[in-house]
């Protein structure tokens, strides 16, 4: 299964009959399946496509340190043998009906996604496989051995890459022994030790129905969606406890400089940022657009790239999770100018935190986020992604509409206040990989 990191006959077209989603009124239906799974559904017959995702609270933070990598391997092995079908049979059967199976994995979530044509024939065949993959995975020994070797080989390769080294080092500095600090792929040592039983146990404990969110988007009726949700969840493991990560604690600030032969330095700065249900969510989100999230409209891009030509890419972002996800700034620049670039980045950040944005900047940010909202829900795929987030983080069904008005209500003072309380520039952690060697 292809792991997507979460930051992703021919039909007659009847144009003009599609319903257009208005801002506040994405018609999300929500219910609980008899298994306890939470189901989120948007009915749309515009295209003969059905998208489904099933998400579990089984991301890398569900690992324990000595078995790091178990969560990721469990997800990866789901479709390599299930319900009496071999991996070969599974991928062939899906391909035969043109269906696509994929996966997503982050610190909180492990998700399996199916995209299929909505015709009954194709759909039923694809759903039959999908349902087995989720509910009857077999974790065959030979597939485990092979996939472990592949992950380890990939990990060894990654450890030579400056960007990867930088992200790993930063993550360690940011989260320390918190479960968010675990490497998502696991470590070479822990991977080597993982046994089939570990995966089976992990699956039983974390892939339970009550721990699952089923998102359905597309060309089926409500009653069909209900039947699909039942079929996908009735044989999931029962029981199970909800994984709750502990709160994130203050990191030890500092800057690490690591030597690397690459021509560019990779510079990263971070601090614990937002929780999904954070009271400062909107001021920080809008503020970040101005600071470094808004591409060419952002201050970091202006100072680092437009004015000085120091980098091709520079941005800042919040990655909200159940507990405080990272707030991160990232850029790459020619080794010789890395200290200059780091200094300017820190200055842009500290000026922004000290003074807040201007009214003009705020108006432009709102113009973008509010005005650009229709672009966020202009495809089935995007809508399904929102359903999955709303479901997984237990956000209100009106989240998308609320989002627009909440952004619209943010003030300059709120942004300044939120950044000053939450993002202390002098307490950030930072890493420079590809630093200039000093004697």
């Amino acid at each position: 299964m292809v792991l997507l990191q979460s930051i992703g006959c021919f039909l007659a077209l009847f144009f003009g009959i599609y319903s257009q989603w208005t801002l506040a009124a994405l018609p999300i239906q929500h219910w609980q399946a008899s298994s306890g799974a939470q189901v989120y559904f948007v009915e749309s017959h515009g295209l003969p496509i059905l998208d489904i995702s099933v998400d579990f609270s089984a991301g890398s933070s569900a690992d324990i340190p000595e078995k790091s990598g178990c969560a990721s391997l469990t997800l990866q092995l789901l479709d390599l043998g299930a319900g009496g079908l071999s991996e070969d049979k599974i991928s062939k059967s899906l391909a035969d009906v043109g269906a696509q199976l994929s996966a997503r994995f982050d610190r909180d979530r492990a998700g399996v996604l199916l995209r299929t044509l909505s015709n009954k024939n194709e759909r039923n065949k694809a759903l039959d496989i999908f349902s087995k993959v989720i509910q009857y995975p077999e974790f065959p020994e030979n597939a485990l051995k092979r996939e472990k070797a592949r992950v380890i080989s990939g990990l060894k390769e990654a450890k030579t890459k400056p960007g990867y080294i930088a992200r790993r080092t930063l993550n360690n500095m940011l989260y320390g022994i918190h479960p968010y600090g675990l490497r998502s792929s696991g470590e070479v040592d822990t991977l080597n030790e993982l046994q089939r039983n570990d995966l089976v146990d992990f699956y039983q404990a974390n892939y339970s129905a009550v721990n699952s969110v089923i998102s359905i988007m597309g060309d089926v009726s409500r009653s069909e969606a209900a039947a699909i949700a039942e079929a996908l969840s009735k044989n999931l493991p029962q029981g199970g406890t909800l994984n709750i990560s502990p709160p994130v604690t203050e990191p030890v600030s500092g800057t690490k400089r690591i030597v690397h032969p690459a021509t560019q330095s990779h510079i990263l700065l971070a601090y614990p940022g937002l929780k999904r249900n954070d009271p400062d969510y909107y001021p920080l989100l809008v503020g970040n657009y101005i600071l470094g999230g808004g591409g060419f409209a952002s201050r970091l891009m202006e100072e680092i790239r437009q004015k000085r030509g120091l980098a091709y890419s520079v941005y800042s972002g919040f990655y909200p999770l159940k507990q405080a996800g990272p707030f991160q700034i990232s850029l790459q620049t020619k080794k010789e100018q890395s200290e200059e670039a780091l200094m300017i980045t820190q200055k842009v950040l500290s000026d922004f935190v000290a003074e807040g944005p201007t009214e003009k900047e705020l108006a432009a940010a709102k113009g973008n986020i509010v005005g650009g909202f229709p672009l966020r829900i202009d495809s089935n795929k995007k809508i399904m992604e929102y359903l999955a987030v709303i479901g997984f983080y237990n956000l209100p069904l009106t989240y998308l509409g609320d989002y627009v008005s909440a952004v619209d209500n943010v003030t300059v003072a709120q942004i300044k206040d939120a950044f000053q309380r939450r993002i202390p520039p002098e307490r950030m952690v930072a890493v420079v990989v590809g630093a200039i060697e000093k004697e």
């Binding site: 592949r150 060894k156 591409g295 060419f296 091709y312 020619k334 973008n368 229709p374």
Partner: protein
């Protein structure tokens, strides 16, 4: 499942914009595109998609790195960056800010064959996008000062995307060997030395020579009324004069000289695992109705690598475990000559040479025994479904139209292309394998990994800012 065409590089202005490469296999039968031509030669293709109140507007210039000359490689892409640096009507950087302020997204991309610019926004803002895009087709102002900064950005882009990326380096060096005379031998981003010596005059010449309505196609997909789009285009682009620019059909063909024996190269770079790329010269589509080989090659990719149980993954990754990943790639469209790629990373303890032998055995097996009807049926099912799935993205739909129009084909060929793909026979797949997967037209590139020394961390310092 994968139907991407990997090695066709795109270079984008902003890295946040991840290009999903669009391959022939997913073209759609268009129910509705509307086509117009302005008096100055600007072609306009509008496709209605009313699912959401948004529109994507793309302008495609029929010029890419294929049109560059030695000494100024990379200038097509540098000019693409400079297109955001202001006109006689707006200042540097304002273009993107104006689009962003109304909720839009914009970016640009340069490929070997074409250069494109796009805006994606609420349909009510289309006029703004068109006004700004038309303005910079004619009124761009290039200054020494802006150029000096932006060329540094492009050099950083080259470091980030090529110099420090072992696999990208392998492709770059391989292309420069696989092609001996054709301009595809030069990287889109340009050689570093050419970037270091490029002048604002080079960019100006490029702009003056190639940027005109008669060398462009405007593609719109979204919740729009084609007639209104036409009036807007007439209003903003109508006044721009055409220039004497050779159409694609009459540009010099620059046929690649015939390869006369296998070529091999080795590339050293900091890495852990070796990496193997094999490239065979192959044809591309020129006449969508008359040609058949490019379709057969596209189906061959599907048979080899169309799903987890396709031949290469099943045999080399799952059964023999000689590779930790494996790919087949082929882009059947292009202004220049095509190439059929096999690539992969050997498993730990296995060598690139072993992987090459294993791949060769798979090819021989395919040639000896042919492909089965079952395999072909499976690929056909994927052709159908991926073509439907792509309708979920307006961006894809616009890319498909623009790509075909920019390489000398037409969006009207889409219907034919899908039908011809479906009609490919097992024997045709075998025939193209016999004809094209031969040593005399093969280039083999191998990454020779150079381990990093164990380096210690430079002592940390707490950096306080006040």
């Amino acid at each position: 499942m994968k139907f991407n065409s990997g090695p066709t590089f795109y270079i984008c202005r902003l890295p946040a914009f991840m290009f999903m490469l669009v391959s022939l296999i997913s073209f759609e039968v268009f129910a509705n595109p509307h086509e117009y031509m302005l008096a100055n030669g600007l072609k306009i293709v509008v496709k209605e998609d009313h699912r959401s109140p948004v529109v994507i507007s793309q302008i495609w210039y029929k010029v890419g790195s294929i049109d560059e000359l030695n000494g100024t490689t990379g200038v097509a892409h540098v000019l693409e960056h400079m297109m955001f640096k202001g006109t006689k009507n707006i200042s540097s950087g304002e273009f993107s800010k104006k689009i962003a302020a109304v909720g839009g997204r914009d970016n640009a991309f340069t490929s070997r064959d074409y250069t494109g610019y796009f805006q994606q926004l609420h349909k009510s803002k289309l006029a703004l996008a068109m006004k700004l895009e038309a303005d910079r087709m004619r009124n761009l102002i290039l200054t020494e000062e802006e150029f000096a900064k932006e060329i540094k950005v492009v050099m950083e882009e080259r470091r980030l995307r090529t110099d420090d990326q072992p696999h990208a380096l392998v492709y770059e060096k391989m292309m420069s060997v696989a092609y001996q005379s054709h301009p595809y031998r030069r990287p889109i981003i340009g050689w570093m030395n050419d970037l270091e010596n490029m002048t604002v005059g080079d960019a100006q010449e490029w702009y003056d020579r190639w940027y005109a309505p008669n060398n462009a196609v405007l593609v719109l997909v979204g919740d729009v009324d084609p007639k209104e789009v036409y009036s807007l285009a007439q209003k903003y682009y109508g006044e721009i004069e055409s220039r004497p620019i050779a159409s694609l059909a009459v540009r010099k063909p620059q046929t690649e000289v015939t390869q006369a024996g296998i070529k091999r190269l080795q590339i050293k770079a900091p890495a852990q695992m070796p990496y193997l790329v094999m490239g065979y010269h192959a044809p591309v589509l020129h006449d969508a109705s008359a040609d058949w080989e490019p379709y057969a090659l596209q189906m061959l990719v599907g048979v080899l690598d169309g799903n987890g149980s396709a031949r290469l993954n099943k045999e080399l990754v799952r059964n023999q475990q000689i590779a930790s990943s494996i790919n087949a790639d082929y882009d059947s469209t292009g202004r220049g000559p095509g190439m059929f790629f096999l690539s992969g990373t050997p498993s730990e303890g296995r060598s690139a040479a072993e992987l090459e032998s294993a791949l060769r055995i798979e090819i021989e097996r395919l040639i000896d025994a042919g492909v089965t009807e079952k395999e072909l049926r499976r690929v056909r099912a994927q052709v159908v479904s991926s073509h439907v799935f792509q309708l979920d993205s307006m961006f894809y739909q616009a890319m498909q139209i623009g790509q075909l129009e920019s390489v000398g084909l037409s969006y009207r060929d889409l219907d034919t292309i899908i039908k011809k793909l479906q009609a490919v026979t097992a024997e045709q797949v075998r025939e193209v394998a016999i004809k094209y997967l031969i040593d005399d037209s093969l280039t083999v590139a191998v990454l020779d990994p150079q381990p990093l020394e164990q380096r210690s961390v430079i002592p940390s310092s707490i950096r306080l800012r006040h």
